[in-house]
Symmetry: C2
Subunit: 224 residues, 2 copies
């Protein structure tokens, strides 16, 4: 299928958008970045135009021609099914289960608790102070990464990457989550396997190009 | 592959376990329920024995022989790949993307915000009163179901079920979420399409048998 005409509605610091950027780069698919600033103008994701693209008012959204694709893990599986080489999923049902489970440990049980809309709700509705919100964020990242590390370490399926010797959906989710963890000052020292895998990922050009600071909508250093 | 020796670590009211029960029933796979009481004994999911099965200390866990499978959506895709008939995923990449996206709208962006460990954190760490916690829960269910209804209504892919005329992964996630919504008193009147689909699902024996009140660990009526 033609890779022509792929547009990614993205925000430089969104970890869900970051996942999809990695997958697009690993597939070697060119795409146009459509920046959606989640803070400016009261949040550009809340405009009627963006709501038409995604009633959840969340990034990312991927347009493939006229197809509107939502939800980052589901988008990545679509990319993998549509352009199978290089594969982002392992060859057996058992390994695919493991890869999806690692991705979901992050994308279901860490990230949604800490994303912008949740922290804004706590701030505006409950007046939870910034320091307490940061404690909340770090708590769920630690609980989640503890379990991810436990799943990865000393497991024969783990290789240079979460599953074997090639990046998969799981790595597409892990690297952005570690970016978030570092942003919020989580102590990464206990996560030996995670750190090793993320280092391997970030040595690859496909991951480097997807990094938040390398996006067209990233602010100049020191900006926000 | 033999269906022998399937055990589901489950809690009657866990909506993530409910998803997997539906899928097992739709596949016609017999399984043994291993009850994990999430409230008794300080939470049986926190025992060292259960932590060995799942370092996340969450249900469900599915044992297929010696294989330990975690994360409900990933378990359901494993069941579907291992026992393909009847399929729980549509035939095309585009439709699979849509089904996974609907499932993830629920399993990533509604349920994790409202599950037991989150509400316990708010209670014990922040002393958020019960009424405020219930408001939080209803808020995220409403935000999420608004978007799910928007995705389902007037979409040509929607049929008697979320996608076409057979239940899929999306219905496995939707029905338990609606159970949760009703439990917390969310007004379901605006969700015309969701209500129609859930009614179709709950007319099926496979869904009925998976309902919380029909589980071996469900309390007698009036209990908890």
């Amino acid at each position: 299928m033609s890779a022509g005409n792929i547009r990614l509605y993205s925000y430089w610091r969104s970890s869900a958008a970051y996942r999809v950027r990695i997958a697009l780069n690993l597939k070697g698919l060119p795409f146009e970045t459509m920046p959606v600033h989640l803070l400016q103008d009261g949040g550009q994701q809340h405009t009627p135009e963006f709501n038409d693209l995604n009633p959840q008012e969340l990034v990312p959204v991927l347009m493939h021609g006229n197809r509107i694709l939502r939800q980052s893990m589901s988008i990545i599986e679509y990319l993998d099914e549509t352009w199978p080489t290089p594969p982002l999923m392992p060859a057996t049902a058992r390994e695919r289960q493991r890869v999806r489970a690692i991705a979901q440990m992050i994308a279901c049980d860490i990230h949604p608790l800490n994303n912008l809309r949740v922290l804004q709700f706590m701030d505006k509705t409950w007046n939870v102070p910034q320091a307490e919100r940061d404690t909340w964020t770090r708590h769920w990242i630690k609980v989640g990464l503890d379990a991810v590390e436990d799943t990865l370490c000393d497991n024969p399926s783990t290789g240079d990457f979460c599953d074997g010797e090639q990046p998969t959906l799981a790595d597409c989710c892990l690297v952005p989550q570690v970016f978030n963890a570092e942003r919020f000052g989580v102590d990464m020292a206990p996560y030996r396997t995670i750190r090793r895998i993320v280092q391997n990922c970030l040595a690859m050009d496909e991951f480097k190009a997807a990094r938040p600071e390398n996006q067209p909508d990233a602010p100049a250093p020191g900006g926000n």
